[in-house]
Point group: C2
Chain length 144, copies 2
Amino acid sequence: MVNKIDHIGIVVKDADEALKVYSEMFDFEVVEEMGGPGGEFKTVLVKAGNITLEFLQPLTDEGSFAKFLKERGGGLHHVSFATNNIKHELKTLKAQGRKLINEEPMSLPKAKRAFVHPSAAENVLIELVQRAQPYPEMPNIKIT
Amino acid sequence: MVNKIDHIGIVVKDADEALKVYSEMFDFEVVEEMGGPGGEFKTVLVKAGNITLEFLQPLTDEGSFAKFLKERGGGLHHVSFATNNIKHELKTLKAQGRKLINEEPMSLPKAKRAFVHPSAAENVLIELVQRAQPYPEMPNIKIT
């Protein structure tokens, strides 16, 4: 099952500017900065309270983020659901005949990830994430 | 301050179909169904684990949701941040000169709400929500 929103992905023209704006407006702070594969984009993960956003800044004119920025001027790009068993989720979705972008999870250093195709989910790009451990500095959440 | 994602708003062509799809894929269940003002749209609030989504179905050809559906085929529409003090949030944003859609919170039966203009927030439509109490059946969350 999916149990919480891991993060919301937002395509931006300039991640530093986005951080400045969201920091001033809502006290968002940086959790992690990363370069994308091939230097095509960079990501800045920010949080406020229990909200995590991922700013996605294209660094070249190529790729889906650059296309999204050009066509829409940026904005809400994907929503990421946390799960404890990404393999089971993908198996269930495949058995239902849902269109997936990643049929097998991508293994990143700290997490396994896979995208469901928007055509399967009311035009919403959904990422499934299974993390080895919560983000650094995230508070512990107890559901009672 | 903002402390969690209250919900994510998704524009859909058919809320019943969206519910069916999300229910099959991720076990989402209905929390609340409501008609919008003037019969222009209906909303269906659904949840899975600690994730709440708001399906927004336009019922006429008029209004911003119908426009969004026509132009984009639906999808991610807004993100809603929960706060304990919406008046303070709006005062802070106004003092910063940020463009707001609602300068004063709209008082709904169970919540106060206000929208920040996307031009103020990297092309993301942000809703601020202060609820009288959590959604029915939502688990209590303790941040330790």
